[in-house]
């Protein structure tokens, strides 16, 4: 290379790096197959970035990826899953400044508040990571039966879970619905907040650089009303979390639940009734409800010898 090629121009002026983000499917960052993207703006309408506008076919691809990853993730030891998820929290901590800036811009909160939200989100992730190898002891157990048998129940992941992430709480809410799904061994297809997708996109970059196997968590940005019905009706999805249907533009969660009934999906409804669905307060420490919503119980009978 000639010496002139590396010579600096000597000015401080820099061209903006305008960001166009992509989806996160199967551990890769593909563009939407539809080729579409949409503008993400902050609370005052200022341009933040372009995000991929996912389509039903992207959702389909994500389900295929999640299904492919399920056996390996569910089959990993609970201890290993805990370590992998803890590593995600480490990477999130390393990107703290970026998360704070994006939560500020997305949710229109002050710096201090954004700092608190990011800390809570990382702590929440660690909290759920810690539960991976404790679920079986707490939720399973030895059942008393009237016969010469051991009768043991153990929790098992249900399979591929579609998650409509909360519309308002772009990071803490997202972590609070996603971590409980994957900690028990489910794989997830997440439809991110429609208007506030940036923290979710950064989370996908954190996931890609941690040890989470590709396909375990898939994130699709786009219009909730467009993609959610396809996930709700998808026969290869075993459960759906409708939390993000609250406040989503043009979404009736009742219709989604109806579509989900077709293959007997497990459904988590949003808080509140009907069109009065609301987002819960994410700042309080959760119970195990969101974990147990996506578990099956396997019971084993074993003859008891002398």
């Amino acid at each position: 290379m000639s010496p002139t090629a590396t010579r600096s121009t000597g000015t401080d002026a820099r061209v903006d790096v305008r960001k166009t983000y992509k989806l996160y499917i199967g551990g890769k960052f593909p563009r939407s197959e539809s080729g579409r993207s949409y503008e993400v703006v902050d609370g005052r309408g200022k341009f933040l970035a372009n995000a991929a506008q996912g389509s039903r076919k992207d959702a389909r691809d994500a389900v295929v990826a999640a299904r492919g990853a399920f056996a390996g993730w569910a089959g990993a030891t609970a201890y290993n899953r805990g370590q992998v998820l803890y590593r995600v929290a480490e990477v999130m901590e390393g990107r703290r400044a970026q998360f704070v800036a994006e939560v500020r811009a997305s949710e229109g909160v002050a710096e201090r508040r954004a700092e608190t939200i990011v800390s809570q989100a990382i702590d929440r992730w660690v909290w759920y990571a810690g539960w991976t190898d404790k679920l079986a002891q707490v939720l399973g157990g030895l059942n008393p039966v009237a016969g010469p048998y051991f009768d043991i129940s153990a929790p098992e992941p249900t399979g591929v879970v579609a998650v409509l992430a909360p519309q308002r709480s772009s990071l803490l809410g997202l972590v609070s619905v996603l971590a409980p799904v994957v900690c028990s061994g489910n794989t997830a297809v997440v439809l991110t907040s429609e208007l506030r997708p940036l923290p979710a996109i950064t989370l996908s970059e954190a996931l890609a650089t941690s040890d989470v196997p590709g396909g375990v968590i898939n994130l699709i940005t786009g219009r909730t009303a467009e993609v959610a019905p396809w996930l709700a009706s998808h026969r290869d999805v075993n459960a759906i979390d409708l939390t993000g249907a609250a406040d989503a533009d043009g979404v009736s969660w009742g219709d989604l639940e109806l579509a989900a009934a077709e293959n007997l999906k497990r459904v988590v409804r949003p808080a509140g009734e009907g069109s009065g669905a609301v987002e819960p307060d994410w700042s309080t420490t959760p119970d195990l409800g969101r974990i147990t919503s996506f578990l099956e119980t396997k019971t084993v009978w074993h003859p008891k010898g002398r």
Partner: protein, 338 residues
Amino acid sequence: MSTPTAAAPSVDATARARDLLGVSRLTNAALTSWLHGLPGVDQVGCEARAAGLGTRSIKTTSKAWGIDLAISMIDLTTLEGADTPGKVRGLCAKAITPDPTDLATPRPAAICVYGDMVPTAKEALGQSGVKVAAVATAFPSGRALMPVKLADTRDAVSAGADEIDMVIDRGAFLSGDYLTVFREIAEVAEACVRTDGTRARLKVIMETGELVTYDNVRRASWLSMLAGGDFIKTSTGKVSPAATLPVTLIMLEAVRDWRDLTGEMVGVKPAGGIRTSKDALKFLVTVSEIAGDDWLDPHWFRFGASSLLNDLLLQRQRMAIGAYSGADYVTDDSPSLY
């Protein structure tokens, strides 16, 4: 479009070859100069053409039609050392009722098995109209002496096989011994004649993944047709790459030109590596564009596949119910662990 009929009685392949080549005696030199006189394949052009045909958008009713046609063209295949009569019967049951949730689903054209499984398959398929194809001639390597290959073929034919899938001797072909390949195909074609004078249809597997060049694929196609093959087939499924679109395109050109030359139609069967509905539709587009719509018929075009059927069924269900389907709604054909 021609209707399926019993295969015509075998013609004397050598005599016809002499006529076509315009020689008094069929020698390797004569075959060599004829095959090497075929125009060379433009590799870049061929691959670009195939890629272009793969970009056609097939939607809604056309897609539904294409999916049903593709299903009816499948040779549903199991060619494993671990094949059991139970697995073959299971596959036959699937061929008879591909989708229990929709009995209007067309049946695949044939079940493709090793020769020793032909009686099992024939019994399981009964009068369903699904044919039985047997691989023969020391499949997949083709490394055996001629009497063994012929006995292999006769066994399968006498057991009731409707179609025979033979492999050519790639070693002979690659060393330029075209006459040996010609004779083997012609003799196996003779062995396909049943005691009542009817014939099992003969598919000639060229194993294009071992032929190295597209020119060789073209030559092997013409040689197979000259020697009396009823079908030219890409691969055994045991070698990668198997059925690629460019290779199939060259074979479709060959059967098209063969019909122009002799008036006879020869079938084409890509086999191995075709797993998705999207791939299958690309092949159908190529058939229509290169060979013509006469070949869009299970009698003249087949897919050698196993997992393709499930993907086609999922697409079919998707179009029928308006929602994405999943693996729980088609049969799992993988061998049981128990």
